[in-house]
Each structure stands twice: as structure tokens, then as C-alpha cells.
């Protein structure tokens, strides 16, 4: 048996949910203010996911950096692997919003895409 405390993020009340887990299964959820807290706890325990955003250097761009994100959210425990894959990566200008920068990052099935337009530097 493991006891975990989660903060529900669905409204400003921020209920401190008390979740008891046994062999990966939820045994009980307490201290929730409404049904949404239960749903939140279930998802956070079974498969917590996050969108990761970062920046990458641009070669030959009018701006030094381009912002990027995972197209959809990825499992939370893949975040550091995802950041590791982005380390030392550079992007060539021009870049448009939505351009795929890395396919299937860290085997999550999710692509890294650009979230900003960076044109070529005119010189």
C-alpha cells in the first residue's frame, strides 16, 4: 500500500487529494471537492502526461533561437529523455510554425514541432 498526495488543478480550490494505491491500482481517493478531482487522480496515477516546450538554436536565422513543443502531451516520465534528445540539436532557417523538428521523440510516438516562425537572415 502506498499513499500519495495530489493537488487537483481543475479549479482554484486545489483540493489535496489523498490517494491510496496498491500494486498500481487505486484503492481509495479522499478529500476531493467534486467528481473532477476523482477523474484527475485516476489520470495522474494511471498515465500522467505533459506537453514539453523548449528552444533550439537556429543556424542562419534572423533570430538566434526557435521555440518548440511536443505536438501533444507525452508521458511525464519521458520528459527528461525528451530534453536529452533535444540537447545539442540545431535547426536550419527558415522555420515555420508546425514544422517537424524531431520525429517520434524518445519513442513516444509524438513529434517535436516548431512554435515560432524564424526567417533566414538576409545579408
Amino acid at each position: 500500500m502506498e499513499k500519495r498526495q495530489l493537488t487537483c488543478i481543475n479549479c482554484p480550490l486545489g483540493c489535496q487529494l489523498e490517494v491510496v494505491i496498491d500494486k498500481g491500482e487505486i484503492v481509495s481517493i479522499e478529500n476531493y471537492g467534486c467528481q473532477r478531482g476523482i477523474e484527475y487522480a485516476k489520470k495522474e496515477i494511471a498515465n500522467p502526461k505533459r506537453t514539453v516546450t523548449s528552444i533550439l538554436p537556429v543556424i542562419g536565422g534572423e533570430l538566434p533561437m526557435v521555440s518548440v513543443k511536443t505536438r501533444t502531451d507525452i508521458p511525464k516520465d519521458k520528459i527528461s529523455e525528451c530534453m536529452h534528445c533535444l540537447k545539442d540539436l540545431k535547426v536550419g532557417a527558415p522555420v515555420k510554425i508546425g514544422d517537424v523538428i524531431v520525429k517520434n521523440i524518445g519513442n513516444t510516438g509524438v513529434d517535436i514541432i516548431a512554435t515560432k516562425k524564424v526567417d533566414k537572415k538576409n545579408d
Partner: protein
């Protein structure tokens, strides 16, 4: 001298949305003046997602949200000047600006829309004893370094203040390889969104020390450490709880203030509570034909509301140019018990407007209180909210039919009640 129908100061989300709506309301002689080298305002450095849920029903990053508006400005051929700093506005609506190519520019505007955004409370406002070594930044400055310039300001970080920008930066710096040791918040609660506390701090095991502050900064050239202490109920540090925490960087996330030097110089009346201009429901300031929207008016949590508000300002400015605004009569809106301020401060007596939005912030944390609207002491609205906190902007609607039912109406009051 140049003559313009509408001059917009600031090319952030507020300025862009105002320009687009003014154009759609039938005025095309519009000029946006922006001091930075690109449009989009502060959104350019907010690379995290969570923008646009209300407006676009999807979660965008800051630059993606900005681009939707920048694209429209280009499509409509709305004129703008970058790297152009407005240095003065006058009561008779001259806008004085400066850039490298043209030097000083003097534009006579029929209307002006103020959309200069806000700035962060600087470290000077803090009064922490000790030296002033390098390595101390506002969270927004650090955000710009990391996200625009691609440069990490330090490796061992303490953050003072739990505002959203500080929380977002705690995660950002952690992902970039820095060690964020703690976030100290002097109040017993955080002003940041729950979502940011969970996803920016809890996810990375960064401690949030509520009721804690920094009492001393150590280091001569570069910051080396801070002294952290718990505070009592009067926010006074408790000596026995002092703790020495090493760090090479201190970020301050202690609040935002609307950017209103220009507004003050022009003699526009400022609301001391918001530090932004006092406006009516058309978002017109105390100078006729000068409008304000976005963070220059009051600090917003969500850019979605900034865009909505700015659309109203743009539309009303266009109506001012075309002389089609109906009425100048107005009713005062009063911030009653528990309500720190309201925007607007006046509602225009215009029977063609079915409802007017009032945005407000409360002055403390209130559980299970009622938000009440009184028209000359008579309750028109009374609704219970499970929680109200100073960190979340609230809004209510004033319906025209309430006003029509009270021919002698003078004031509208928004207040909190226990039952």
C-alpha cells in the same frame, strides 16, 4: 507632422487585437507603434503552452498565439513601425515617438489606444538588506535571456515570489539543467495558478516555502547565497528560523505593474488600486478619444481576456473616429466589501448594449462567499462561489434590462457577502 485616425501604442496581444477590431469596425487609417524589433509583445518569450484555451479551444504556446494575430495584421495590411519608442502623448492627442531612421516623429491622432502592457516590480522595490551583487534578475528578464537569447543565467537558483512567471521559470531552468532550490512566498498562499504549482514545482520536486522570505543577500561581485526565514502572521521574519541557502542566481517574481509613465504624463487619471487608467465600459480614459486595454489597464492572468478586451477598445475607438458613439452618460461602478478594484469604473448609459463585462479582483482568499451586484442598494445578482482568490481575475455581467428597470439609477456596486 503626420495625421492618423487611430494610433496604437504597443504591438503586443492587446495592440494587435485592438487594431484588427478597429479595422473591422470600418477604420483603416491605423498605425501601431512598437519599441521592440517584432510584434507580439511579451508572448514572444512565453514559450510554454496554455494560451488560447478560451478563445481557440486549444492550448497554444505564447508565440503561436501571437502569430495568429500578427498574421491577421499582415493580411489586413495594417501599418506598424517597429523599434519605435513612444516618448510622449499630449492631452490634444499628439503622439511623439522616436526611431533610428526617422528620428523624432510627431503624429496627430484622432484617437489613441494605449496598449503598453506591464512591467515587473523591480528589485529596488524589495528592500532586502545586503550587497547588490550580480545574479539577481526579475523572472521575466530571466525568461527573456533563456527563451529569446538562449542563455542560462545561472546554475543554482532561488526564486522569491510565487507568481506564475516565477513558477514557469522554475520549470524552464530545471529543464535546462539548473538546480532550482526553492521558491519562497511571503504570504501563506501562492498567487500562482494551481496548474503551475503542480506542473512546474511538484513535478520536479521543487519545494514551495509558503510564509517564507529572504532576509539577506550574500556575495560581493556575484550572489553566493541568501538567508531565508519563516515569517510570522504579521509577515515579520522569525530570527530563529533563518537558514543559509547557497545560490548563484536569485529570481524575483513579486508582481507586475501596468506601464503607465506615458499615461501619467498626459494627465490621464490613474486608479491607484490597479495602477492603470480609470476607464468606462467603452474603455475610454479620462481624455476623450484615448482608450486603454490589456495589461496597461490592469494585470490580466489570461491573454484570452486581453484579446477580448482589446477588441472592445478597437471597436469603440473606430466609432469615436466615425462619430457614432451614442452616449456620454454613465453610472459609477463601486468596488464594495471584499472587492479590491473593478474595471471599468463606469458603465456607459447605452441601451443598445445588452450587457457589459465587469472584471475585478478580490482582496483576500474567500471560501463559499457570494458575489453580489447591487443597483442603488437593490440586489440584482447574488451567486455563491466555492473560492475567490486575489490571484484569479473574476468577472460578472451587468445586464441592460436591470438598468432599464431603474430609471433613477446612480451607482452599481460589486461586493462579497457571507450569505
Amino acid at each position: 507632422m503626420d495625421n492618423r485616425d487611430i494610433v496604437i501604442i504597443g504591438g503586443g496581444p492587446a495592440g494587435l487585437a485592438a487594431a484588427i477590431s478597429a479595422y473591422h469596425a470600418g477604420v483603416s487609417d491605423i498605425l501601431i507603434l512598437e519599441r521592440e524589433n517584432s510584434l507580439g509583445g511579451i508572448l514572444n518569450q512565453c514559450i510554454h503552452n496554455g494560451f488560447g484555451l478560451h478563445k481557440f479551444k486549444e492550448e497554444l504556446t505564447g508565440p503561436e498565439y501571437a502569430e495568429r494575430y500578427v498574421d491577421q495584421v499582415h493580411e489586413l495590411n495594417i501599418e506598424y513601425k517597429l523599434e519605435t519608442m513612444v516618448i510622449d502623448i499630449t492631452e490634444d492627442k499628439h503622439v511623439i515617438a522616436m526611431n533610428e531612421i526617422e528620428g523624432v516623429i510627431d503624429i496627430k491622432a484622432k484617437t489613441i489606444i494605449l496598449a503598453m502592457g506591464c512591467r515587473e516590480r523591480p528589485r529596488g522595490a524589495l528592500n532586502i538588506p545586503g550587497n547588490r551583487p550580480s545574479g539577481i534578475f526579475t523572472a521575466g528578464t530571466a525568461q527573456k535571456y533563456v527563451n529569446i537569447d538562449g542563455y542560462l543565467p545561472g546554475r543554482e537558483v532561488v526564486i522569491l515570489g510565487s507568481g506564475d512567471i516565477g513558477l514557469i521559470m522554475a520549470r524552464r531552468l530545471t529543464l535546462e539543467g539548473a538546480k532550482v532550490k526553492m521558491v519562497c512566498e511571503i504570504l501563506p498562499y501562492s498567487g500562482g495558478l494551481k496548474r503551475n504549482i503542480v506542473q512546474c514545482l511538484d513535478d520536479y520536486d521543487i519545494p514551495l516555502r509558503l510564509s517564507h522570505t529572504i532576509t539577506k543577500i550574500h556575495g560581493k561581485e556575484r550572489i553566493e547565497a541568501v538567508t531565508v526565514a519563516k515569517v510570522d502572521e504579521f509577515l515579520k521574519p522569525i530570527k530563529e528560523t533563518e537558514e543559509y541557502v547557497t545560490c548563484d542566481t536569485l529570481l524575483l517574481s513579486v508582481g507586475l505593474i501596468p506601464e503607465n509613465e506615458l499615461t501619467r504624463k498626459a494627465g490621464i487619471t490613474i486608479n491607484p488600486k490597479t495602477q492603470g487608467p480609470i476607464v468606462d465600459s467603452n474603455l475610454e480614459t479620462s481624455i476623450p478619444g484615448v482608450y486603454a486595454c490589456g495589461n496597461v489597464l490592469h494585470v490580466h492572468d489570461l491573454v484570452d481576456y486581453v484579446s477580448d478586451e482589446a477588441s472592445i477598445a478597437g471597436q469603440k475607438a473606430a466609432m469615436f473616429v466615425k462619430n457614432s458613439l451614442i452616449s456620454d452618460d454613465k453610472f459609477a461602478v463601486i468596488a464594495g466589501k471584499g472587492v479590491r478594484y473593478t474595471v471599468p469604473s463606469w458603465i456607459i448609459d447605452d441601451s443598445s448594449i445588452a450587457m457589459s463585462i465587469i472584471r475585478f479582483r478580490v482582496d483576500g482568499v474567500y471560501k463559499d462567499h457570494f458575489v453580489t451586484i447591487k443597483l442603488d442598494n437593490e440586489k440584482a445578482y447574488h451567486k455563491q462561489k466555492r473560492i475567490l482568490t486575489p490571484g484569479e481575475m473574476e468577472q460578472v455581467m451587468i445586464l441592460r434590462k436591470w438598468i432599464d428597470a431603474k430609471p433613477e439609477l446612480k451607482t452599481i456596486e460589486i461586493l462579497l457577502e457571507e450569505d
